[in-house]
């Protein structure tokens, strides 16, 4: 691909103290793509997300946003430029209302009309959310919380949505619905970068994927190829 990647890692290394977490990781997310990152516990998935968002600074290597090195840029810079995360387990501001949660998603924007417009779009996408605007977000059900979390992320008008374990902690019936939602957002042109344990489901909707193992990218391929990969099948898809 000759296009500039929206977000890119070039041999990124990160450390927490003396512990070496990410080891020479290369990634690239292109506009409008849906990609996923697979890996077991403590393989460095969350660190990857934090590094993409600027909450962790790499010890070596480069993080690029639209081809520009952003290693030293704060999280706010990346949010303004269209990178947003839906955190693991949704993590809404529980004691704030649904509306306040959504508005906090647009914290860095100051175009009032645009924000109003986006709020309307979110109400259209999630009619359930509109009914509960003045309710404490902590009182919502799991599925509703997920809607608010996604809505909150969309409020910053992202070009790429980083999703940390979107199906974790959701009732099985909601997982499928959740993936459909992600696809719907993707169809509106937002690139999706998913970190998932549910590899089967994630790969079935993604274009490409990587597999992380103890901080190293061990597989980098199209989703179909990964789904067919016998090694992956044995370790992640629960088949022997």
């Amino acid at each position: 691909m000759t296009e500039t990647a929206l977000l890119e890692f070039r041999s990124v290394n990160t450390h927490y103290g003396a512990v070496h977490i990410l080891k020479d990781v290369d990634l690239a997310i292109y506009p409008g793509e849906m990609v996923c990152l697979l890996g077991g516990n403590a393989s460095g998935k969350s660190t990857t997300l934090k590094t993409l968002l600027g909450m962790v600074t790499p010890t070596s290597g480069e993080v690029l946003l639209d081809g520009e090195v952003v290693n030293d840029k704060p999280t706010s810079y990346r949010v303004v430029n269209g990178v947003t995360m839906v955190p693991e387990n949704r993590r809404l501001f529980k004691r704030l209302t649904v509306k306040e949660n959504l508005e906090l998603g647009a914290y860095l924007r100051d175009d009032k009309e645009g924000i109003e417009e986006d709020l309307e779009n979110i109400y259209e996408l999630f009619p359930r959310v509109k009914e509960r605007l003045s309710q404490k977000s902590g009182t919502l059900s799991g599925g509703e919380q997920q809607m608010v979390a996604i809505g909150r992320a969309l409020m910053s008008r992202p070009r790429v949505l980083l999703m940390d374990e979107p199906s974790m902690g959701l009732a099985p019936a909601l997982v499928q619905q959740n993936f459909e939602l992600i696809q719907q957002i993707h169809e509106e042109g937002v690139a999706i970068f998913m970190v998932e344990q549910n590899a089967n489901m994630a790969l079935s909707i993604a274009d490409r994927g990587w597999v992380l193992q103890t901080g190293r990218v061990v597989l980098d391929d199209t989703a179909e190829a990964l789904l067919a990969n016998p090694e992956l099948r044995s370790s992640y898809l629960g088949e022997s």
């Binding site: 927490y16 977490i21 403590a42 460095g44 969350s46 660190t47 968002l53 909450m55 704060p74 999280t75 706010s76 949010v79 303004v80 947003t84 995360m85 955190p87 693991e88 387990n89 993590r91 809404l92 501001f93 529980k94 004691r95 704030l96 306040e100 508005e103 906090l104 998603g105 914290y107 860095l108 404490k136 902590g138 009182t139 909150r152 910053s156 902690g169």
Partner: protein
């Protein structure tokens, strides 16, 4: 499902374990209160002439409350409860009786053993008080009867109709308030030339006269009958008004009313009450500042007194001719500008290193910094500059052209403090609804996610620290001008703790709550060094502050006047469960995050 309630329990069908448990606690509480010395100390304060003193009140509220508690039934949804009846009254009576027995044992103990060495109040004075200067047999009879009577009364509160319960509550609380506010009312009626009114209510030697007690009780009890919930209706209408224009108009009217009262009131009050109100204002200013730090941004700052001290000392150095090293003797207004600069610097200086810590760690580190600042002011090292333990004296009052604000004229201090408080309330109110206020609340809820939203958490938190610091320093500046001197010992750690209690008891994050909190706590109980209305409490202030804090945390964690938000969230069963689950989640996540 049964359609009618179950018949009431048989008289002796008691949950003996429960009754004896609460009965023993009742006895222990009464004995504890006696041995702490509260009754003897507070006996001087008469509430009702020759009938009831504050000291006795502190013993007799116990059986009443425990009688109420023991006969309270757990109401489970969908489970029919037997109708309350005589059995409940008996539980209350037994609880009160056990409480009375506790006092009997105490009296016999005091009479036969001498434990005065460890227990200071184990003395004949207490015995005389408990026996009403009569024989032990007489005292025992009285206390057993009083215990049983009040226990039954407490238990019967459940069985009254709402209206009667309301009448009783009005009468009791109204009388109590009148008795406690005796000094204020005396003072006020003198100012309003209505001495005859206070002479009618209060006896010469203090306390409400017996006749007026009865009259007032009847009048107060009749109040709910007369108003028939109209007041409540009006309040709820006022609160729930959906129309923003109307809401705004209502707030303006209310605000104007309160403003007029506060502007006019001091002219009708004497020096002592004005002084008291000025103290309340100084602490309100501190509490409003801390409310921003703790209530909005969720940063538990236990060293808040440091900023109070910075304000006081800066004013002292800049205005006092006695400042040992640098003494420009500027006007208060100019020194106030320096105070703002110094407080901002102090806020940044203390804030910057500690702001990255979270929760408990932040609390401990700020606690340390608060002490460090006080010890610096006390140190020999800074003695040539700040006077060490001798402090800085001779701080002039505030010269405002035609008026002068100085400690000898409490009314002027009150107006000065009022001006600062109004400013602080306005600032808090505007900040709450602002962008930075939103960011603070997000940080309070979940700091990492706030960061993901693009909020600069470090700057926002520092900002909260600095705003809090500036408000506290104003309070310190006025205090210095009022008292005329500053000493390190005025800035003990206790100040931080008391302000925190005011914020928590009043209602975290609620401006009205903080106002009510400081009025009630500082006004009635008093500040760390400032006497309140009940000066007799001086030695027991901290005990009562502590007890109140524990009680509030258990029974009303949202504070006296909570924000609408906090009430909803704390009393929503559903939410509580969610929060439990949710908190577990986020803790696990944090752990996981740290492991990574």
């Amino acid at each position: 499902m049964m359609s009618t309630s179950l018949p009431s329990r048989k008289l002796f069908d008691q949950d003996w374990k429960r009754v004896s448990f609460w009965g023993s606690i009742c006895a222990l509480s009464q004995v504890f209160i006696c041995l702490v010395g509260l009754p003897a100390e507070l006996n001087r304060r008469i509430l009702i002439e020759s009938t009831l003193s504050l000291g006795y009140l502190f013993i007799i509220w116990v059986p009443l409350v425990f009688g109420y508690v023991v006969s309270k039934m757990v109401e489970l949804e969908g489970v029919e409860n037997p109708k309350p009846g005589a059995a409940e009254l008996l539980s209350g009576a037994i609880t009160g009786l056990l409480g009375g027995l506790g006092l009997v044992v105490l009296m016999l103990g005091i009479d036969n053993f001498d434990l005065r060495d460890p227990l200071l109040n184990w003395n004949p004075k207490l015995l005389r008080l408990l026996t009403f200067e009569n024989s032990i047999g007489f005292g025992s009879m009285i206390w057993l009867l009083v215990g049983v009577g009040l226990g039954v009364f407490g238990a019967s509160l459940h069985q009254m109709t709402t209206r009667i319960r309301k009448m009783v509550a009005y009468a009791i609380f109204g009388l109590f308030t009148l008795a406690v506010l005796e000094d204020v009312i005396d003072d006020l009626s003198e100012g309003l030339r209505l001495e005859w009114l206070s002479d009618m209510i209060y006896a010469k030697r203090g306390g409400i006269t017996v006749t007026s007690t009865i009259v007032i009780a009847v009048v107060l009890a009749a109040l709910p009958l007369l108003t028939r919930g109209k007041v409540k209706e009006a309040v709820s209408r006022y609160r729930s008004s959906d129309n923003p224009a109307e809401q705004q108009r209502n707030s303006i009217v209310l605000f104007a009313l309160v403003a007029v009262v506060f502007l006019v009131l001091p002219w009708f009050l004497g020096g002592i009450i004005n002084e008291l109100l000025a103290n309340v204002g100084l602490f309100l200013l501190l509490a409003l500042g801390l409310n921003i730090v703790v209530g909005l941004a969720g940063l538990l700052d236990l060293g808040y007194v440091a900023f109070f001290a910075v304000g006081g000392y800066t004013t002292a150095v800049f205005t006092s001719p006695n400042s040992p090293w640098f003494s420009p003797e500027t006007h208060f207004g100019i020194s106030l500008l320096v105070v703002v600069v110094m407080a901002t610097l102090a806020g940044l200086l203390i804030g910057a290193p500690v702001i990255r810590m979270r929760g408990d760690y932040l609390a401990i580190v700020t606690l340390g910094f608060g002490e460090i600042i006080r010890l610096l002011f006390l140190s020999d090292w800074l003695k040539p500059y700040l006077g060490g333990s001798q402090g800085i004296t001779n701080i002039p009052g505030i010269d405002l052209g035609p008026w002068e604000v100085r400690g000898a004229d409490p009314r002027s201090v009150f107006y000065m403090v009022l001006a600062f408080c109004v400013l602080a309330i306005y600032v808090s109110w505007r900040l709450q609804g602002s962008r930075i206020g939103r960011a603070w609340m997000a940080i309070r809820e979940d700091e990492s996610v706030a960061e993901v939203m693009g909020i600069n958490t470090v700057n926002s938190k520092l900002m909260a620290f600095v705003v809090g610091a500036v408000l506290a320093s104003f309070s310190g500046a006025v205090l210095a001008a009022k008292v005329g001197s500053v000493f390190p010992k005025s800035f003990e750690i206790l100040v931080s703790i008391i302000i925190l209690v005011v914020v928590i008891v009043g209602g975290m994050g609620s401006i009205t709550g903080v106002m009510v909190g400081s009025l009630v706590l500082i006004g009635i109980l008093g500040g760390p060094r400032q006497p309140g209305l009940l000066q007799e409490f001086q030695n027991y202030k901290l005990l009562i502050y502590g007890a109140l804090l524990v009680f509030m945390m258990l029974k009303r964690p949202e504070g006296l006047v909570p924000t609408a938000r906090r009430t909803r969230e704390l009393h929503q069963e559903e939410y509580l469960q969610d929060a439990w689950l949710g908190d577990d989640d986020s803790e696990q996540q944090e752990e996981a995050g740290e492991r990574l």
